[in-house]
């Protein structure tokens, strides 16, 4: 079966833009802020988040932060700079090599997964530190595909105050990014977490985003069963792997579990929205 085209996942871009700009404005102002910041990796997700934020708050109110490590691809920083320049957003560059390497060497961490997680979490640490100085909220860049697959670092890239991309599959992220004129240099390169040299998302996952989106959309949005997907001709190993990943990574999508002891417990029967009393 060749890569699905996923035409059925196409969205109305102008409508999505209107909704997401309105979402960003209202949720940020309800929390008492007028400014935001986000990490720019040079990839399409953070580029789209930044483009939406620039439209919502004005580019001068969106701090783009490039967080290169010495092992990062050179193009990652170049593309982050290109995007910030195009949008007219201030760009701050914070090298994370010294801090990351100090820890990795001290603890002799060689496992690439652990090394990648440390980098992702250090980036989170910098963003949350800068958010105090900038007096702004951290905007997320995780899309629906990677959140459902659990292809994120918990408390790393998955940590943020609000996320305009969390209900967009990768296919839709690209579509909206094209609509918002994200530079083609960013759109054309293979997606990569860039936590190790030569790494690509699709190489890590063992299947393409086109398949992931097609399968996730059917299982989650359309509520189809695995056997229905197999009848449609999707490869059994990929469907099975993806279905397992959705279940196994539910913990990453929820706050930590709390043991109930009292009559009223946070997370169980103390039920209020975040917007409560804002």
């Amino acid at each position: 079966m060749k890569n699905p085209e996923n035409k059925e996942l196409d969205i109305q871009c102008e409508l999505a833009e209107e909704l997401l700009v309105s979402f960003l404005r209202e949720e940020v102002s309800q929390a008492g802020f007028q400014r935001v910041l986000l990490g720019l990796s040079g990839g399409v997700d953070s580029a789209l988040s930044a483009a939406l934020a620039a439209r919502a708050f004005g580019p001068e109110n969106v701090l783009c932060v490039a967080l290169p490590h010495r092992t990062s691809a050179r193009t990652s920083l170049e593309h982050a700079e290109l995007l910030a320049r195009r949008l007219g957003c201030p760009l701050r560059r914070v090298e994370i090599s010294a801090a990351v390497d100090a820890y990795l060497e001290q603890e002799k961490v060689l496992d690439p997964t652990r090394r990648g997680n440390v980098m992702a979490r250090l980036r989170m640490l910098v963003l949350y530190d800068l958010s105090v100085e900038w007096k702004g909220l951290v905007v997320g860049t995780s899309n629906k595909t990677e959140m459902l697959l659990g292809y994120t670092t918990q408390f790393g890239d998955s940590a943020h105050a609000l996320n305009p991309l969390g209900d967009l599959y990768k296919h839709q992220v690209y579509q909206l990014a094209r609509h918002l004129e994200v530079p083609h240099e960013i759109l054309d390169k293979p997606p990569s977490a860039d936590l190790a040299a030569g790494q690509t998302d699709e190489g890590d996952l063992g299947f393409t985003y086109a398949f992931a989106d097609a399968i996730l959309w059917r299982l989650v949005d359309r509520r189809m069963r695995v056997d229905e997907l197999l009848r449609e001709g999707f490869p059994a190993d990929v469907v099975k792997k993806i279905a397992q990943r959705i279940v196994r990574n539910q913990y990453k999508r929820l706050p930590p579990v709390i043991a109930k002891l009292s009559e009223r417990t946070i997370g169980h029967d103390f039920r209020y929205l975040r917007d409560w009393g804002m």
Binding site: D10, I11, Q12, L19, S22, E26, L273, D275, W276, M278
Partner: protein, 309 residues
Amino acid sequence: MDCTVRLSQLNPTLGDLKHNLDLHLREVDAARRQGIDLLVFPELSLTGYFLKDQVSDLAMRLDDPLLARLLAMSNEVSIVVGFVEHGAGDQLYNATAFLERGRVLHVHRKVHLVSYGMFDEARDFSPGAEFRPIDSRLGRLGLCICEDLWHVGGGYTYFLERCDAVIVPSASPARGIAAGDEGLRSVAVWDTLLSAQALLFQCWMLYCNRVGWEDGIGFAGHSAVFGPEGRRRAQLEGLSPGRLDQRLSSATLERTRVRTPLRRDERPQVLLDALERALHPPAPRVPEPAAPTESEPEERGRNPRPWRP
């Protein structure tokens, strides 16, 4: 009914009664000055929608001073406002009050609470039990709160009761942005519902939805007025607060009902019979007695008597 209605597409702040009351008072004041007869606010307009544990904190009885502020302004303009009602038996209702000439003329309690998908109303509210028409100075009106319109019972009741307009305060979330559709899917679905009920029940449909965001759920606005022939007469575009004014005329209602006399030709007894059969099916029939056999003559089986030679 001949009057001018205004749908006030608000963005209430979750749980902030004082702020929301001020918002309402400003709208009422503007409507009064601009000669509006009927001012409609969305579902739970005084409280916000996803209340969860805030429901009991925000509930009010009908003599609440906050409602009194609105009542005091209802002499020239009739007001439809959404709130959490604290009932006499301590039930909490998702309710809408109809205020007119300083009186609470009617309270509609949402009958069809919505508890699927992102909704959980049945956990927090008690359901209302009736659709009762309102005899307003403007004419005979009905109220359906949001999900109430997904069931035909409300609209049909108001049709039988000869209501001229059904008011539909709503808090419907925006969803569905697929490229194959035109605009929000949820808005298209509401348009279909409103158009269908207007057409079938030959009344004005006044749909007032809210806007704004609560924890990542955006409300879809697109408040609209549908005429008694099922056509959309006016609609607010976009996702911002706004006001939609519409003149409603009796002549339109009369013409529609003369051309297609649905109410005259309606036969509620047929429906009533069907409901009787559905709700009260006849008791299962007692099985027939077994057929008599040669050795046991029928008479003896039915009417046992001591056998005599």
